[in-house]
């Protein structure tokens, strides 16, 4: 199939950036979206044009590196699919496709479609961990955890930290990401000990980074390739309320 692409090109963080039009010729419907971009880039290199820079790593939908907004939707139109796992069969010949980077003050563009997501790492560094070494895997019956808690923690832990929630949010809020991390720990005994300090520390860091505020649009949930539910945002709000009502510790 043949497609027309409008791609965001930006030399560096200081460049203003603009949309450029490129044809994508002879694209196989079996290709992934990123493979389609690889083909376009080979064409561009042959023409002596700087290839389009985009983030990617595993191309298996598990690493959280790929980050393209396709036709206004982070990771494209398919539900529960990262852009690397989106196949060209979901498009038809002659389609016009807009490709843009994650748009957020907290995610400044480095080049073209590549953004700096270290804000997410700093939120993790603020509280997304358990302070003591919990050792190896304990015996299954050593620390009883209810099935519900184990499942809920696992659902939250499915977050790959790609930042699509931020890209999808009308306010560029990072709440779904932070909520997933806060909930993942708060549901397990090892994480519960520091739950109160953690939620405060991570939210404070989230605010410092310049993410927007949650207005309950629910766009994040729709864009999340791991289908993290906004019920975790409610969970984080509960954790935060509990923490701010508790006597201050440390």
């Amino acid at each position: 199939m043949n497609l027309t692409l409008y791609v965001w090109r930006q030399k560096n963080a200081d460049d203003k950036g603009r949309m450029e039009k490129y044809p994508a010729k002879n694209i196989s419907s079996h290709m992934s979206f990123l493979e389609m971009l690889d083909v376009v880039n080979e064409d561009l290199i042959e023409q002596g044009v700087e290839p389009i820079a985009f983030d990617h790593d595993c191309r298996e939908g598990i690493c959280g590196m790929c980050s393209l907004v396709v036709n206004g939707r982070p990771h494209g139109p398919e539900k529960a699919t990262t852009i690397c796992q989106l196949h060209m069969r979901h498009f038809s010949d002659g389609d016009v496709i807009y490709i843009e980077p994650w748009r957020a003050k907290a995610f400044p563009v480095i080049k073209d479609l590549v953004v700096d997501r270290s804000a997410i790492d700093r939120i993790m560094a603020a509280g997304g961990f358990v302070s003591i070494n919990t050792g190896g895997v304990p015996d299954a019956n050593a620390i009883p955890i209810s099935k519900t808690d184990a499942d809920t923690a696992m659902d939250a832990a499915a977050c790959i930290g790609c930042g699509a929630c931020v890209a999808a949010c009308k306010n560029a809020s990072g709440m779904l990401f932070v909520a997933a991390k806060v909930s993942q720990f708060a549901h397990l005994p090892q994480g519960k000990v520091e739950a109160s300090q953690r939620v405060r520390a991570m939210i404070d860091q989230m605010d410092i980074e310049g993410f927007g505020n949650c207005t309950n649009f629910q766009e994040c949930e729709a864009a999340c390739p791991k289908e993290i539910s906004i019920k975790f945002i409610a969970k984080m709000n509960r954790e935060y309320l509990k923490s701010s009502m508790a006597p201050t510790k440390g």
């Binding site: 949309m19 700093r122 603020a126 953690r198 520390a201 927007g212 309950n216 945002i233 984080m236 440390g250």
Partner: protein, 234 residues
């Protein structure tokens, strides 16, 4: 990592709650919840217009006889109103600043129309409340109501007011904005306070829709009742 401030759990001095994003949202939620209550009570009280002049005017007398308490309620409501608006505007500008470069292609997937226009329906409500107070409470826009107001003849004031097409139109448009605002507010309050789960999120959205329709129908029934001569002066 080295250029940015990182607040870790161990050396963390918590930021005062109301200065954080969730703290501000909680303030929006609690004041908003009070207004959902107020809007409901105000509607039920005024719907007594359908029971006749005596009932509605007796209700007005009861409210007036609260004396000092009435002023406590009024001043509290004004304070909550100010807090709600102050943080709404602050959050609006913060949110705008969080995305300095807009998308070329912008789409809406899950977000509802009412959720996207909260700031505008809110500002419409603010303008309406200013007009509403000047109209019926302070008697600035229609000084001819002064005699009715002195006798606490709320019934006649409402009918005289809504007999004017322009005034009725303003009230009806304002109530559409109110319903849109309430539509998103109901779900939002519960979500912000963490009182939701996977099962209740879609349910609360539906409850919000129904609640907004009840508010809309209740408030619209008054000007419509007057315009259709269902409620008359005599």
């Amino acid at each position: 990592m080295d250029t940015m401030q990182v607040s870790t759990m161990c050396h963390h001095r918590p930021v005062t709650a109301y200065k954080t994003s969730i703290g501000m949202k909680l303030l929006m939620g609690i004041t908003g919840f009070i207004f959902i209550g107020f809007v409901t009570g105000h509607m039920i009280g005024n719907l007594q217009v359908f029971l006749g002049a005596e009932k509605l005017n007796a209700y007005a007398h009861t409210l007036q006889s609260l004396g000092a308490l009435l002023w406590v309620i009024r001043l509290s409501l004004l304070t909550f109103f100010a807090v709600h608006i102050f943080f709404a505007i602050k959050l609006y500008f913060q949110n705008r600043a969080s995305r300095p470069v807009k998308y070329v292609k912008e789409v809406n997937v899950e977000s509802t129309f009412s959720s996207r226009i909260m700031i505008w329906s809110g500002l419409a409500m603010f303008s309406f409340v200013v007009y509403h107070l000047m109209h019926f409470t302070l008697i600035i826009t229609n000084p001819e109501y002064a005699v009715l107001k002195e006798n606490l003849d709320v019934y006649s004031m409402m009918i005289v007011g809504f007999s004017n097409y322009w005034i009725s139109a303003v009230y009806m448009v304002a109530m559409i904005f109110l319903a849109l605002h309430v539509n998103h507010a109901v779900f939002s309050v519960f979500q912000t306070f963490g009182l939701t789960n996977a099962k209740w999120i879609p349910l609360l959205r539906r409850i919000g829709n129904i609640y907004a329709l009840i508010i809309l129908a209740g408030y619209l029934s008054m000007p419509v009742g007057v315009l259709l001569n269902i409620i008359t002066l005599h």
